[in-house]
Symmetry: C2
Subunit: 400 residues, 2 copies
């Protein structure tokens, strides 16, 4: 008689990651293989995380998924690719010399519920955290212990980088089957304790071009992107690894800014051109260069993904002054104490010299709010059954 | 006895030119030699021109120059380079086998007055027209008949392209002494009579980074610029020459847009990054792509120089409809009949389909005004003595 696995419910959390050497462009659309390697910083889950509950049961009649309380289409190709890949790994595991025959649970349907502790409308790439969490959670449900890069990648390329904490690289790989296109940790979250990350959520005028379509057009039309991928990124990756290893903030910061600008340059070299940077983004860029020039060295660095939000890297000794500089140049309009979320930041006055250097051309309301965070760990299993997002009936629990 | 030249007063006009394959970056700062070739369209002087009067007299005690009625510093290095170069050519001519000894006029001082028939504040690169006019006028004064590319170039690189009408290329040259870095006409102004140019003067928020400093920083910091110059521009130049020769507007338009975007991409890849495109510039870009998509082909093309103004290329059969589209998306705020200058454009209604395609998200006042013009001739001598900007005393005539 085939042994049956009890119904599994597993809840995990996974982090957001921010690339400092950017991924933009695929060499294989189906396997999600990139044209260049990338390197990211994992953010702390206290401020940003996805929580996912996955349950399997013979009583479920179909796979179902709920995102932030709303049922979504489980037939979505990326989701399907993820589910197929994890089930393939589960079958492979079972058939690798284990005595038990394939358990019935592999034929069960799965219910998944996932929530973010940050707003989707904020334009903070949640698909990386979401697919990493899905991969990690389903792996726990199915007892899969192998590398999950491919599962996460098939959902969203950069999701594989959210499988680890600290500093992570996604090695592009050379193989056509993508088996060597994997994420690995470059340094743990404890490596650079002084590093801080500020996410400046800016007012968005229009929904930006989606990154999947955008990067495809870039690969098809931008000669500068091809050159970047082949001739420039390998050196950027080597240098960034060194910067992280040696905690060289000046070099880390400069390379971060340059790589971000170069990525956006290739977007502008796309046809039709893609512009993710808004006028506010550009003002943040100017603020950073101004701040650094005032101090005579790189104390703050910006990076921008496929959207207008700015992600700022700095060290803990600079956070308060830089936040004050942001308030000066982008005076919050209404929300007073809701302007700063996450890690506490003490209010400090700006020196007159810095005020003079920043100029008097404020953009009220340009920055909606700031999330202050730091480097954090990789995915976690939650042992507390109260954390499950699905009830015993396999349906989402009512929101608390 | 040395023969004396009579006091010379010469007045000339010279055009503005707009590059469709962009010059950005020098390989020699002193001789103004570019890192890549460039190709431009000369605009008609009925709409945009510089008028320059040069007078030499033994009674003048020093070189002096007035620009738009205001005396400027004649010691400015670019101006000095121009004057030295034209005088060198004048001495060389005299010494090339002519019988007369060098005339005293070569030792006379020169007075120069120059005016534009378009506002400097409009950000329409007037230095090309200005230095081309200066070179051309001084050549007439000194009887210089040789190639003036170097004289104009030493003032402002792109000025050499304003020495010819129609379609002009500035061949980058290979020699270190720059003798082969010259402009030549690719096709005359009569070659493509249907071609029209619309300059969309946009509201400027801030003075953009000057192009001399900007391109220097780009050369020093942008790997993408180096690649563009070495690997991409030669093919762009060959293709653009073909497009002009064959009057292939679709290909001309697409390459014009791509080269403009690529130039701006290298500006973004500069460190610190340079952004010449404003939010309004980007809206114009979207308008053009939308307009072309609606029509199913490239009917309109944009190009942007080191500033936010858009220069639009189209054919005469499309001008009215595109101007109507601009009015729809950028409703003029106050100036009613001052919104459209230059060649007359008949008001036409927009089709409902086009209105729908353009969307309903207007930017009132985003475009301050439009100058409608066409391809035009090179520099001209004005024979009418009433046109002189300097009086018999060598000082600027009072403004009329």
């Amino acid at each position: 008689m085939a042994s049956e696995e009890p119904v599994e419910v597993v809840t995990c959390t996974a982090p957001v990651n921010i690339a400092v050497i950017k991924y933009w462009g695929k060499r294989d659309e189906e396997l999600i293989l990139p044209i260049n390697s990338s390197l990211s910083v994992t953010l702390h889950q206290d401020q940003l995380k996805t929580t996912t509950t996955a349950a399997i049961s013979r009583d479920f009649t179909e796979d179902r998924i709920w995102l932030n309380g709303r049922e979504e289409d489980v037939g979505q190709p990326r989701l399907q690719a993820c589910l197929r890949e994890i089930r393939r790994l589960a079958r492979k595991r079972r058939s690798d010399g284990h005595e038990e025959p394939l358990p019935l649970s592999l034929s069960y349907k799965v219910h998944v519920a996932s929530v973010n502790n940050f707003p989707t409308a904020a334009g903070l790439a949640s698909s990386a955290a979401g697919y990493a969490c899905l991969a990690y959670t389903l792996a726990r449900v199915y007892g899969v212990e192998s590398d999950l890069s491919e599962v996460a990648r098939r959902g969203s390329g950069s999701a594989c980088r959210s499988l680890y904490g600290g500093f992570v690289e996604w090695q592009m790989g050379q193989r056509a089957d993508g088996k060597d296109s994997v994420a690995r940790q470059v340094a743990p979250e404890s490596h650079w304790p002084e590093l801080r990350v500020l996410i400046l959520v800016v007012s968005t005028e229009r929904k930006p071009t989606g990154s999947t379509a955008g990067m495809q057009t870039s690969v098809e039309t931008s000669a500068l992107l091809r050159f970047r991928a082949e001739a420039l990124v390998p050196a950027h990756m080597a240098e960034m690894s060194r910067c992280v290893r040696e905690r060289d903030f000046q070099a880390f910061g400069q390379l971060t800014m340059k790589d971000s600008n170069q990525f956006h340059a290739t977007c502008l070299d796309t046809f039709p051109p893609i512009s993710y940077l808004s006028d506010t983004s550009r003002r943040v860029i100017r603020l950073v260069h101004c701040f650094n020039a005032h101090h005579g060295r790189t104390k703050v660095a910006y990076t921008f993904d496929a959207g207008a939000n700015a992600v700022i890297f700095t060290l803990d000794d600079t956070v308060a002054e830089f936040v004050a500089a942001v308030r000066h140049s982008f005076p919050p309009e209404l929300n007073g104490d809701k302007f700063l979320k996450g890690l506490p930041v003490e209010p400090v006055p700006l020196s007159d010299e810095l005020k003079a250097a920043l100029g008097a051309d404020p953009t009220p309301g340009g920055v909606k709010y700031i999330i202050a965070t730091q480097v954090g760990p990789g995915p976690q299993v939650l042992d507390d059954p109260g954390a499950h997002l699905l009830g015993p009936d396999g349906l989402p629990k009512p929101a608390a």
